[in-house]
Amino acid sequence: MSSRAPIEVRRESTPAIRVRHLWQRYGQRDVLRDVTFDVYPGEIYGFIGPNGAGKTTTIRVMATLLEPMSGRVELDGVDVSMDPERVRKTLGYMPDHAGVYERVTVREFLEFFADAHGIRSPGVVEAVLELTDIKRLSSELVATLSKGQKQRLQLARILLHDPKVLILDEPASDLDPRARIEIRDLLLDLQSLGKTILLSSHILSELSDICTSVGIIEQGSMVVSGPIQEIARRFAGRHGGRAAPPLGTGAESSLDGGVTQPAAAAPLVPELGPRRVVRVRVLGDLAAAAYALHGGPGILDVNVVGRSLHVGYVGGDEKVAELARYLVYRGFGVVGLEHERSELERIFLEATGTTGRGGGA
């Protein structure tokens, strides 16, 4: 659902983060089982999983804080268990619920970490204060900051040594919506500065707007990992078959079985992809509007649900625009259009649905 300019992800280069066959056991329990995924330079990678799935454990291995039982993790080509010192130089890690020193000012806090990193140039603290937009707070005591401001301060801290890779464990977990949006925008800024970002969450909406790739982990196993678009295509190949028989990939149709929506016999342009649903709120006669849309090109089905129409269609955002234009042309007042689910939510449901495991923790 990105309306932004496509970011440049150099997928053919060496991955910025490589996690390979990672196993971790606590007592008799395998907390991580063969976790494998790559994050490429320039990506924002969403690491999604329910509580207790093993996100923090994986992240702590990446951050050189936990020795894995087996498997290997490389950051920027360096094995984290072999050379943690070098990894620490390229990594900015924000733990979940990180603490701060309360009785120092924002500037002192950052100066301390700059000193600890051995950064000599004096402008760095100013620069990160500027970048994270907390300059006006610089002489406030850290104790007096709000949660959102503290989170910004943490981000400022991990930027001090100009790391290539940022790993954020649930960065938005206790933030209000406004602070979340601000953090999100900040992350996008950082991505445009060329940082690779991995952030974990169990809240999809937190990730859906900014991630370029996702990995879904459940009970210690990776369910799926890769760029959102690619995964979406894969799932479309498996499940979209009924609505839009894919060209030349008929083999996957054997995996069908979960979709209950009746398929319309509309003519299809198969390369347009999977069935999507858009919710359309219109003024006036809903039934008439539904009738008007029914059977249109690319429209699969139209249902009246409550005060809005649920329109199943294939195609991209142009199809939605076309649909809106058509309704307006036919004299219906369109007051709202929204996707039933974000792409990420669909992926998540499909991925976790097919594994047969429960999604909850």
Binding site: D34, P95, G99, F112, A116, M222
Partner: protein
Amino acid sequence: MCAYLAELRDEPNPLWLREMRQAARVQLTPIALAALTILMTLFIGGIGGMMAAFKLSPASIGGVLFQTFFTLAYFIVAVVGPALGANTIASEREGRTWEVVLLTGMRPATIARGKFASAYTSIAIYIVALAPVGALPFIFGGVTPTEVVVAFLVLFVFALLSVAFGLALSARMQSLRGAIVVTLLAAFPLASGLFAVVGPMASTLAHRVWPGVQEGTPFWYPVAWGVAPFGREFLLFLVAIPLAVVGLPAWFLFEVTLANLSSITEDRSFGLKRWHLVAAPVTLALLLVLSGYVDSLAPSELHALVSFGFVAYAVFVIYLFATEVFGPSRRVLVDLAGRGFLRQRLAPGLAPTRRMLRLTLTLPLILVTLGWMLATPSSGLPTTRAGAHFVPTVELTQIALVGVFLAAYVEFLIGLTTFLRVRSAGGSGVRPLLILALFVTAVGPWIVGAVAGLLSSRSDPGVVVAAPSPVFLLLVTHDALVTGGALSSPLVACPLVFALLYAAGGVWLGRRATERCRAAIDQHTALLADADRRLAEEDAALERDRATNVAPHADMALRAEVDAPTEAPPSPESVADSIADVDVPPEA
């Protein structure tokens, strides 16, 4: 040294700087300091007034006030120092800032120094605040300026140890409250013991050298500075020995702190091994020197004193290294390549550690015994003491017996510990079992004998049940030898038999353990090599895909789902897992 000071001035430790800034923001500190000073002044003044009311001479009042003040100050430092030290690292752990500090790439040594400096600065401020009160005894006289200055120096040095003690303990603890409670529980008895037992004992010795030093006073050291004439003994007892007695523990605590701050894949035992290589000869030298100042003991008794003293140190060191790792981690192996001879010898691992302990603990005991036997006249007139006759051959036999037994006993403890370590996965049970073994061998036989009613008389043959205990030689065998017991008599032969059993058992257990350990390391290395090979194959496959122009990621996207986790990795009895927790033993 100057360069180091200059560095301190130009680039203060960031941790210290920050803690000082934080401390400066607490309004309570000056108030607490003022309150402490006032309380102490009132207390000391009150005692002085009371004594004056009893018409004591001002000089003796001054002396008593001096002792009172420094005793109080000693206990304040003994409590506040460890608490401040414990506070530093544990508060970062509890405040969830610790990992973040670690990830800045600061070396554990830098962190330890910064933390030490901040805690030490705080306690130094306390001591300085007390300084005016410490000068009060001057008003009454009877105390020289040297004494007061030296006493304050002692206080500063003691503060160093007490802060380091708290730091070393807190480096392991996760919670702040736990760290402070444990530290105080350990520090207070330790400080009281030093004050009530070690201090007076040392004063007895000092009194013998310089009669001007009062016998039985714990705080005799500053007084000795006033009365002792400069000379060999001054340098030995007032400079060299105090330096060793303070320096070794301080260094030890620093190394323990570093070990506890380092990650499990680092070589955590090297620092402590280096310390031991210095501490062992110094301890031995100290025992030998002190034995030279104990008169009225026969040669065999002096030998026993030195040997048992060294065995006490040996037990401490064996306990210290009881949780040594099986072998070096991948990372340490890479790091070790190309290092010097000594560094390679002191590599982490059970086998090298066992070798080091045998060379530095068992061997010195044998050498000391041989030397002692050479130095003891084998012929000549029998000496007498307290009615008993010491025949030189009896002395020589006794020295040899004690030396053989103790060397065998230490060898047994080394072998047993190595064996226990190999048997326990995480190394957690080794130390309790070691203590249990010590108890069973040293004290157990006596309890059994007492319960069976066999100890009523030392000449009772039933007393041999206690022969496994090292003190049997002192309490029973010696008497038996003196009263003409031959080597074949049970009271002499039994300890010898047990010595041989201990030696054989120790060697056998140690051998078995190191063999098992080697097998475990080989297995682990094979697994690592296998993992390496598989990862390399995967890389090669990926490279091929790339060459045939398939987007690698597209292929990988559902990988995890398609290949269900294939096989579980080996059980975690790996080298990395068995890296030891080196920690401070509860009772040093």
